[in-house]
């Protein structure tokens, strides 16, 4: 019995160490976002909220934020919508090549984002499209689609098939049964998928970096400030983004559990 508890103690310690390593940078970021010093070195000077004010008044950050919001909301909207139909046909119908299509829809998951970005840029610029926010939205949709399809088909496969069959035998059309049976029972999953794809698209940096030239998104703005001389306002943005995505993420998790 002794060796057993020894092992458990070791595991407790390991868990604590890993968790603190994961949270240490986040903690440092939050603490420094209130530090009045312009340089990111100890000791901590005075408490200030001026970095937050800077962020909320700086036109470049505001522009990045608006662009990011526009792109990620349209990405999550279209990805969720498309994923809903894909998941519906994957779950509810049997056709030749279904399992192939199933794997095909998930392939973007195993392709690094940098490859999605780079090859889309090559391809679309050779077709005469200029890099723009619209292309960013396309690229990011490719990247979030597999997640959305996985989530939704997971939920849909739990809906009893005979509900829909009952509707059909009572004379309802396929479209109507989809809207009146499947859609309401996927309600929470749909919202959760929307939030999930939104947070992923909002945070995504490398695809956006390749696919836009002049109109930048927030992650690109953060990145450029990081590489070209540091701006302490980034800690403030990081904190805001962290808290928002954490809240959204928790909400989407709760919605998934609720079904």
């Amino acid at each position: 019995m002794k060796s057993f508890s020894l092992l458990n103690n070791f595991l407790y310690v390991l868990f604590t160490i890993i968790v603190s390593l994961i949270y240490l940078p986040i903690l440092v970021m939050i603490v420094f976002s209130f530090n009045s010093s312009k340089y990111q070195i100890m000791p901590f000077r005075n408490f200030t909220t001026s970095w937050y004010q800077r962020v909320l008044t700086d036109s470049q950050y505001i522009e990045g934020l608006t662009n990011s919001l526009i792109v990620s909301i349209s990405v999550s909207f279209f990805a969720t919508l498309l994923a809903f139909f894909c998941a519906y046909s994957l779950v509810n119908s049997n056709f030749k090549g279904k399992s192939f299509l199933n794997i095909f829809f998930l392939t973007p998951l195993v392709v690094p984002l940098i490859l999605i970005g780079i090859s889309l840029r090559f391809y679309l610029t050779s077709r005469g499209y200029e890099p723009s926010l619209f292309l960013v939205a396309i690229g990011q949709s490719i990247f979030v689609m597999p997640l959305a399809i996985l989530n939704l088909s997971n939920r849909m496969s739990q809906i009893p098939k005979n509900l829909e069959e009952a509707a059909w035998s009572l004379g309802s059309s396929r479209l109507r049964s989809m809207f009146e049976i499947i859609l309401p029972s996927c309600k929470f999953s749909l919202i959760a998928t929307f939030i999930l794809t939104f947070t992923f698209a909002f945070d995504e940096f490398i695809i956006a970096y390749f696919l836009t030239n002049f109109s930048i998104t927030l992650p690109i703005k953060i990145w450029t400030s990081l590489v070209t001389g540091f701006d302490p306002a980034i800690n403030a943005i990081g904190t805001i983004v962290f808290l928002t995505s954490l809240t959204l993420g928790l909400i989407s998790q709760i919605l998934f559990l609720k079904k």
Partner: protein, 261 residues
């Protein structure tokens, strides 16, 4: 999907076989890639980096998943898992940057050691490959633990009881029951971690520095710097090849699942 995902990849494949000046079909881009030291080195540096990241992530994630699944009380299980994976929703870039603040030679760690012991030390850790490995491993641990946990939680507890009834110990329990039954999660997690490590740009740049670039960094600087699309396409295709090779265990896993059905 076909239009925006498959076509671009094939277009890149085609680009990688075209001569940058004349536009004739050629293998020269690939020969040129492996004949230049900087490219050649970065290719193997990328592989080495990903290899270490996976190894460390698996070594750390396995006990963690075991801990959450079998040691933590049922009430706190979801909470423990949530604590571990919640930072998935934070910007990866900013987290990597925070590590810069902590690990740099004027960072928190040296400051702290100086305060406590009075010694001035240099860490010499930031801007090395070890720092990249460190940053990506933390990410890999989160991902693999999550997937391993999903596999482990489905293990029938009666198997564990049978093991101890028949005189088995912790070691046989892990070796004969938990490891084989959680293998799918382990494989999927490792492959995904590998893919992220191989293609990541932010962590190698912020923690690894620019002097010893990995493939992703070279690719980006080639495109934004010299506009040599064909060379960049060559690198992209090499990356695809690495990934296809990495996915082989995944495919055999799918086959196995099908056979069992």
């Amino acid at each position: 999907m076909t239009f925006f995902f498959i076509f671009p990849i094939f277009h890149t494949l085609r680009l990688s076989f075209l001569d940058p000046n004349t536009g004739v079909f050629t293998f020269n881009n690939y020969f040129a890639f492996f004949s230049k030291d900087i490219f050649y080195d970065s290719f193997f540096r990328t592989l080495k980096l990903s290899f270490f990241v996976i190894s460390f992530s698996v070594i750390l994630a396995f006990p963690l998943a075991y801990f959450i699944c079998f040691v933590v009380k049922k009430k706190f299980r979801t909470l423990a898992l949530l604590i571990l994976v919640a930072p998935f929703w934070t910007s990866f870039t900013i987290r990597a940057f925070s590590w810069q603040l902590i690990l740099s030679d004027k960072g928190l760690v040296t400051w702290f050691i100086n305060k406590v012991t009075g010694y001035e030390i240099k860490l010499n850790f930031l801007y090395t490959m070890n720092a990249s490995i460190f940053g990506l491993t933390l990410f890999g641990v989160m991902l693999i633990t999550l997937l391993l946990f999903n596999s482990m939680i489905t293990i029938d507890k009666r198997l564990l009881e049978a093991n101890s009834d028949l005189g088995g110990n912790k070691f046989t329990e892990i070796k004969n029951i938990i490891l084989p039954l959680s293998l799918p999660g382990l494989i999927i997690g490792s492959v995904l971690t590998f893919i992220i490590a191989v293609g990541d740009y932010a962590v190698p740049t912020l923690l690894g520095g620019g002097f010893k670039p990995v493939l992703a960094q070279l690719m980006l600087s080639t495109i934004k710097g010299t506009f040599d699309l064909n060379t960049a396409a060559t690198m992209a295709i090499l990356l695809v090849i690495i990934i296809i090779i990495a996915c082989i265990p995944l495919l055999s896993l799918i086959k196995q699942v099908r056979l069992e059905k």
